[in-house]
Structures are given as C-alpha cells and as structure tokens.
C-alpha cells in the first residue's frame, strides 16, 4: 500500500491535518467494523498507520511524493550488510556456544533481521552518527532540514511516532550542548544514545565537574535522565558482569529507548511529572505525620542523587518536601546535613538561589 492508496482507502483526496485523517479513519472504521469485516478493518488501519507515521507526505502533491511502501505486504529484502552497530566484533567469528546452557543447539537460534527504516528514522540515525563522528556542522545541517520538514506541517508528536520524536529530541539536545561542553562529551553522548552504553559519557561528565553536570542537565534534560537511569540501572547490579551487559547491548539499547520513551512518549515530561508530583505530594504530606522520618530520608536521598547528576529539576521538586520535613523534625542531625546539602544544591542550581526556601 502506498500513500495514494492509503488516502483512497480512507476516502480522502488530500489530507490537511492530523485531525482530518483521524476522522476519516474513524468514519471508515464504521464502514468496516472489526467485528463484521476484519479484513476490511485491517486495510483501513494499515492506511491510517501509514499516513499517521509519514506525515511529511501530506503537504506534498501526490504525484510529487515518493510513494512510501508500507512494510506490511512486501518487506524489503535483508540489507546487504546485516551487521549492526552493536556487533562488537569487526570480523565474523565462528559460532561457539559459550553461554546459557548447552541444551539449546545453535541450529535453533534465530536473529532479528534489520529492515530498512522509514525515512525520518534514517535521517535521525544519520544525524546521530554524524554527531558521534564529531561532524557537528553536518549534523546540524541535517537536523535543521529535518526540523523544517517535520514542523512545516504543524505536526504533533502523536502523528509522527513516539520513538522517532524521542530520538529527534535527543539530536536537538545534543546540538544544544555545543559550546557548553567539550565536543568529546557530545560524541560520547551520541555514542551512548546509539549503543546504550553511557560509560564514557558518564566518565567525561564526571571529569568536567559540576559545571558540566549542570550544563548537561539544563540543556539536555532527557539525555541526563537517560544517563541517570542507565547508570543506576541493571548494568551495575552485582552478579552481572559489565561484559555480559555489553554483550546484550541490544537489550541495553532497548532499555535506553524505554526509559527515554517513558519521558517522551506522547504526553511526556508534564504527564510523568504530574503523576510523580502527586505521588510526591502524598509523600510530602506523610512526612509530617511520619514518625520515622522515612519520607524525609527519601527526599534527602533523592536530592543527593540529583545533585550528583546535576539534575536541578529533581532538586527543585524535592526541596520543599525536604525542607518541610526538616522543619517538622527539627533533629539536630538533619540540621547539620541540611546546611551541607543546601550548599551543594545551590552550587548545582545556582539560578535557584531564591527558590530553595530556608528553614528558619
């Protein structure tokens, strides 16, 4: 199915907006309800998915647009060089099974085949590759043309596909870091996004001290969160050697996508923040009644961790609960730690000076 057929399927001449496409889709669903006409419904849905995920086709006249083939009916042949970015060995080595039980024969193993990615995805991956190669200017050029293409039609996140958006945002964040941190760190971050391995980026950032940490947190909040999530994630759990995790780099990459995705998917920050804030609100209230000071300790811990990663948003979020808890508790120990913690928090969040309320 190409874009032209898809439009015909939904009974559209030329789409004008995401909303028009959605309504056309729903009207077609009424004609082909899944209950009574499952085949017809799947065709309609396929058309809708195609148009929704390739919105840059809308503004162009149909003749001029390259018809995009939906991967469903005819998947492209396997790519000529199926090696992935994650395959560490440059030359193919003979397979010998050394992990996970000898009961399973290598004969039964299958590997996921990489298929040609749809257009914006490819471009974004290319931009990331350029960043990783240190070609910042080229990356910026590619990203700008991409931005133009994608914003020209006033598209919303939902229509583009959440993972595409997540990666697109990461590219933008990486570009925003230019000049604020070393190019090496940008390259390491790009490599981290591509492979899920943020070790090098983490090391460089640590080396740069709090100024760099703050810059990353301020200009690239989602990257920063990924960094925090991954550094605290399963890679460093005891019992897993680092090596075995690099071995399943694919898994880590999925993990990176998931944790980035969860900040980005559709409603994004504000939604996650809202739910978190509600939960925190409950915690904050409980800090008052909680004789064991658990939530105070929790808030303190969250702040310390956020300071370490230069995540000023979390500091800002947690501080009121912490401060209130300290005020309620009035414990000598918390007062001591309070001064120290406040100093560090202010160092990271210099611009927050006025906002970190004092404990009288």
């Amino acid at each position: 199915m190409d874009s032209k057929q898809a439009l015909a399927e939904l009974g559209l001449e030329a789409p004008t907006s995401a909303d028009a496409i959605r309504r056309a889709y729903l009207r077609s669903v009424r004609k082909h309800p899944p209950e009574r006409d499952p085949e017809g419904f799947q065709r309609v849905r396929q058309a809708y998915d195609l148009l929704r995920d390739h919105p840059w086709l809308w503004g162009t006249t149909l003749e001029a647009a390259t018809p995009i083939s939906n991967p469903l009916p005819a998947p492209p042949p396997p790519s000529a060089s199926p090696e992935r970015a994650l395959e560490l060995s440059p030359k193919p080595a003979p397979v010998t099974i050394t992990v996970e039980g000898k009961s399973r024969s290598a004969l039964f193993a299958v590997r996921k085949d990489e298929r040609a990615a749809p257009v914006p995805w490819r471009d974004i991956e290319d931009a990331l590759q350029l960043l990783e190669d240190g070609k910042l200017a080229e990356a910026r050029g590619l990203s700008q043309s991409l931005d133009r293409r994608m914003t020209e039609f006033g598209m919303r996140t939902r229509e583009i596909g959440v993972h595409v958006i997540a990666r697109w945002t990461l590219v933008a964040e990486l570009l925003a870091l230019e000049g604020a941190v070393s190019d090496d760190l940008i390259r390491a971050l790009a490599a981290g996004v591509r492979s899920g391995d943020f070790d090098e980026a983490d090391r460089l950032r640590e080396k740069g001290g709090w100024r760099v940490r703050r810059a990353v947190a301020a200009r690239a909040p989602s990257l920063n969160k990924a960094l925090v999530a991954l550094a605290g994630g399963p890679r460093f759990r005891p019992g897993f050697s680092r090596w075995s995790w690099i071995g399943v780099g694919w898994v880590v990459l999925q993990l990176a996508r998931t944790c980035l995705g969860s900040y980005f998917e559709t409603g994004h920050h504000s939604h996650s923040a809202q739910v978190a804030a509600t939960a925190n609100g409950a915690n904050g209230q409980r800090a008052v009644a909680d004789p064991k000071q658990e939530s105070l300790v929790k808030a303190a811990r969250a702040i310390d961790e956020a300071v370490q990663y230069g995540d000023c948003n979390t500091v800002r979020e947690q501080w009121p609960f912490y401060a209130r808890g300290v005020r309620q508790a009035g414990f000598a120990w918390s007062r001591d730690n309070y001064a120290e913690r406040r100093k560090r928090a202010l160092e990271i969040c210099a611009e927050l000076a006025g906002e970190l309320s004092e404990v009288p």
Binding site: T96, V248, L255
Partner: protein, 575 residues
C-alpha cells in the same frame, strides 16, 4: 434464533449474567431474585452449593468452602473441600453453570453462546484457564473480553453520539484495571489497558485484618488462634466494617468469642476512616503505576481525560474517589452501576457478536494488552546470547492485527529455525510467558545470515494467534495455530474433569432459597448471644420443621418468617 446470547462477568467476589433484550441490556436475577451471585462454592455432604448460601457457609464451614478462587486461575493450586479436590477452573465452572441455569430459567431459552469477561491484565494462561472453565460448564464461548473494555462498552452504549475522552478505573474484589478510551465519529476506541491482577477490595480487607492482629498483639498481648472459623469471622467483620466506613467516618468492629491464644475474647475495636486510610496507603500507591502506564500507552496525560469513570464495588471507598480526583484533577463519575457495568458491557458485546440490530450501529475497537513475539539470539564476539525477546505484535496494537518481521539464520548450514512464542514486556524471554513452540524445517543450507524467514503473527478478536513462517528464498510457507484451548490441561484431562463435575449433586433450583436462608441463619447464630440467639434458634427450628413437612406453602411462609427475624435482629449480612 434458537438460543440467547448472554454476557457473563465472572468476578472474584460476585458474578453476574446479563442479556440485551429489545435493545436494552439487563442483568438477570438468580434463583433468589438477586442480581449478584457470590463467587463461592461450598460442598455440603455430597451436595454442592454455589452463591449466597455458599458465601454464608464460608463463616460456619470455612474448610468446606472456596472463595476468591479467580485469583488462582491459571495456577496449579488445588482446593480441598470436604474431601473432594477442585481446581480453580472447576470451581469457576460451577459458578458459570449456575449462572447459565439462572439465565435459562429467567429467559426460558437455551444459552447458545456467551461472552465472558476477564481482567485486562490476565495473561494467556489465565485466559486459557477461563476458557477451560467455560468448557467445563458446558458454555459455548468464543469471545473473552477485557473487563474494562466491557465497562467501556456499557458506558459507550449511551454516549456513542458524543465525542469525548474517558478513563475507566475498575477496582473489583481481586483485580484493578485501567482503560483509556475515546469516542469520536461514533466509534468507541479503546486506546490502552493496564492493570494489576492482584489488587482489589480483598487486599483492603487483608490490610484491616493485619491492623486487628497488630492491635491484638500490642494491646492484648495475644494472637489469633489457629482456627479457620475464627479467622473467617474476623474477615467477615472486617469486610462489613470496610463497607460501613464507605458511608460513615467511624465505626466499631466487634467479634464476640474470638478464639485467641489466651482463650475466647470479645474483640471490639473502634475504627476511623482516616486511620485505616493510612494503612491502605501502600495499596493506593500501587494503583498509580497502571494508571500511568495506560495513559502513556494511550498517548495521553491525566488532564486530557474529560471523564473519569469508577466501576467495581471497591471504588465505593471514598479514598479511591479522592485518589482519582487528585490524579485527574476532576471528580470521577459513578454513572454506571459499579457492580453491573462489566456484565452489561459483556451482554452488549454478545449482542454485537450475534448481529443484534439494536446495537448494530455500535462500533468498538480494542487493543492487544500484551506484546507477542519470539525468542531470538545475537552473536557477539565468539559467544551467543540467546533468549532475547523480539516483539512482533506490540501491546496497544489495534485488533485484529497481522504483523510480519524477518529473521535470519545465525549459523552456517542452518536448516531449521525454532520459533518460541512469548507474551510479555520483558526484554529477556525467560521473564515472559511462553505460549507456544514451533519449528520451521527445510531451510536451504547456506552461510549464516543469508537465509531469512518472514514470521507473520495474526491475532484475531477471539484471541487466536496464527503464526505463518515463509522461507524467503524458496517462498515455502508454514502455518501454525496456537490453539486457544491448548493449555495446561489436555483434552483427556478436560473430559475427565467434566465427568467429575457431572457426577456432583446440586440442590434443586427451587430449594435454593431454603438452603440460603438456613445458611444465613446459621452464620448469624454464631455471632449472637443470649436472648437474640434463642429467638433466632427458635425461628430456625420452626423453619426446619416446616421443611420436614414438605408442604411448599408452609415452607414459603416459615422462610419469610425466618428472613424477617434475620432482618429484625438488625445485623447486616453480606449478600
């Protein structure tokens, strides 16, 4: 039309059966004239009791009664009731058979087909167990739908002309489900479902029991004796107190003669809603994750929801409504009858499936609640990492759906591929649920990575998964079906179970009101003392004498008298 098509809500605490007649859905009353049939089974001598009578006997004969068995669906747990062994499937089958009989008696026609609901978050094994239960009950069931989807249908039935986004929260006795839906252009679009299959009203009761036990330990320095009847009575008292606290802010919990390690104790404890809500906090916290996930999957934020609907009996607790209000920034609605919404939706779905013209203009789409995929491996250096989960149909995909992914061989001269089908969200296969196994043979021998196989998953609305594998170079196709009835039990075992159930004896339908009245009276008798006890004992004796006489009129008369005494003694009893 030869038979009727009904919808059944097989709940943890209550089950219901409903039907659409003349375009209006209605819940069918049982032999006692009640809409809710407790999901409880009691074995009384050689007879099996289901429903309210069994629920009452849980107090007096806990060792012969099973409740909340829905929680064990899909597991190997066995229930031992008066020397007979039952699986959770068989117990559910007994409840389903009861509902079927009720429906047939009320409608005067055979039940031709039923739509049965399960929690959205039931996995494949639990769904198969539910299908087995339907088989055992002699119910023809093609479609199993998600409870919140059913609730959404019940809601959408009256709102199909409007355009809005809604979130349905269903907190029942044993499970919590969240569904995000949108109604637009006359289509009810279920956008995402998430939930927790082990979070419900029963857990709140557990928390209360724990509270009581702590109080016993600290204030009385004693603990509950190991006594099933005592435990059952404490549980009942907590359940009743929980319900009272939905309306009042304070109540007293009282159990007379509670057996403890220091002898019998008249247990009495004042409870306040505020104090209990602190104890409930961990349970309330657990509700956040599924809500957040459903919203995220649907691409929504909390503030987008124009309506928040509460269904399920446990949403009557004020703390649930306030949690919803806080999260969504708006007051939740209870416009659907909380106990009946799911059954009504199931009936609507049954009518839809049967092609009932009254609901012909209702169009709904649903999504896959889990990701389906296969196990793959990856070669790295000189080692092979196996058991990587490669999704093919992602959760949230609109059903029916068909997706294809290409996989290739990993070693030289590999001529076979093993397709292990898994369901779940974890990147490692061993953390997901295995639901089937196939092998593709006859792949031409060649160097690793050169031969490819296209694997297509087709998932239909009845939950049947078809797997097609096509060898790319030879265009040779293999087709497999994951039998939805294939599961833990083989055909033979199913037959044996059916025969075993067929041998059970039931009370005749018309005797049920009598048995229920006696069971309820027996349960209350244990709670009473002194004069009240004597009064109830007398009424019971008179009723038993009436039963002996076998005179239907006299029996009916004395039963009413006994029920009047039960009412007059002023104790509420659980339905």
């Amino acid at each position: 039309m030869s038979g009727v098509h009904v919808g059944i809500d097989l709940g943890t605490t209550y089950s219901l059966v409903a039907v659409v007649q003349n375009g209006e859905p209605k819940v069918i009353p049982n032999a006692l004239g009640e809409l809710l049939t407790p999901s409880a089974v009691n074995v009384d001598g050689d007879r099996v009791l289901v429903g309210r009578a069994a629920r009452a006997r849980a107090l007096t004969h806990p060792e012969a009664t099973a409740v909340s068995f829905k929680r064990d669906m899909g597991t190997d747990r066995k229930y031992e009731l008066s020397g007979r062994t039952f699986t959770p499937e068989e117990l559910s089958a007994l409840v389903l058979a009861e509902l079927k009989r009720d429906a047939e008696a009320a409608l005067g026609a055979e039940v031709e087909e039923a739509v049965v609901t399960v929690p959205a978050y039931f996995g494949e094994l639990q769904r198969r167990a539910t299908r087995h239960a339907c088989d055992l009950a002699g119910l023809h069931v093609e479609r199993i739908i998600n409870e919140p989807t059913a609730a959404a249908l019940a809601y959408g039935l009256h709102h199909r002309a409007s355009e809005l986004r809604a979130v349905v929260l269903d907190l029942g006795g044993g499970t919590f489900d969240v569904t995000a839906l949108e109604i637009m252009e006359g289509v009810i679009e279920i956008q995402a479902s998430a939930g927790d299959t082990r979070l419900g009203g029963e857990d709140f009761v557990d928390a209360m029991i724990e509270h009581c036990l702590e109080w016993l330990a600290t204030e009385r320095g004693t603990e509950l004796a190991d006594d099933a009847v005592g435990r059952a009575r404490l549980r009942e008292a907590c359940e009743l107190a929980k319900r009272r606290l939905s309306d009042a802010s304070e109540t007293r919990l009282a159990v007379s003669g509670l057996p403890t390690s220091k002898g019998k104790l008249d247990f009495e404890l004042p409870l306040s809603r505020a104090r209990l809500e602190e104890r409930f906090q961990p349970l309330l916290d657990r509700m956040l994750a599924p809500i957040e996930r459903a919203l995220r999957d649907a691409g929504r934020r909390a503030s987008d929801a124009q309506e928040v609907l509460l269904v399920g009996g446990a949403t009557r607790m004020p703390c649930i409504a306030s949690l919803a209000a806080k999260l969504f920034g708006r007051l939740p609605l209870r416009s659907l009858p909380p106990d009946e919404a799911v059954a009504i939706g199931a009936a609507v779905q049954a009518a839809l499936k049967a092609g009932d013209s009254a609901v012909a203009d209702l169009v709904a789409t649903d999504v896959a609640p889990f990701t389906l995929g296969i196990a793959t491996a990856q070669k790295l250096h000189d080692s092979l990492v196996q058991g990587i989960f490669s999704p093919i149909i992602e959760r949230g995909t609109v059903l029916p759906a068909s997706r294809v992914e290409r996989f290739c061989t990993i070693s030289n001269a590999q001529t076979r591929l093993k397709l292990e089908v898994f369901q779940g969200e974890h990147a490692r296969c061993e953390k997901n649920q295995r639901i089937g196994d196939f092998e593709v043979r006859g792949i031409p021998s060649g160097p690793a990575g050169t031969e490819a196989v296209d694997v297509r998953f087709s998932y239909d609305m009845n939950g049947v998964l078809d797997v097609d594998a096509t060898i790319v170079s030879t265009n040779e196709a293999h087709t497999f079906t994951i039998e939805r009835s294939a599961g833990r039990l083989s055909r033979r075992e199913l037959e044996a179970a059916r025969a075993r159930l067929a041998r059970l004896k039931f009370h005749p339908r018309e005797a049920l009101p009598n048995v229920t009245a006696i069971s309820r009276a027996d349960a209350l008798y244990a709670e009473l003392v002194g004069h009240e006890r004597a009064q109830l004992g007398h009424a019971l004796a008179v009723f038993r004498a009436a039963l002996e006489s076998q005179d239907p009129k006299l029996i009916a008369q004395q039963r009413e008298a006994l029920l009047a005494v039960l009412l007059a003694l002023g104790r509420e009893a659980l339905k």
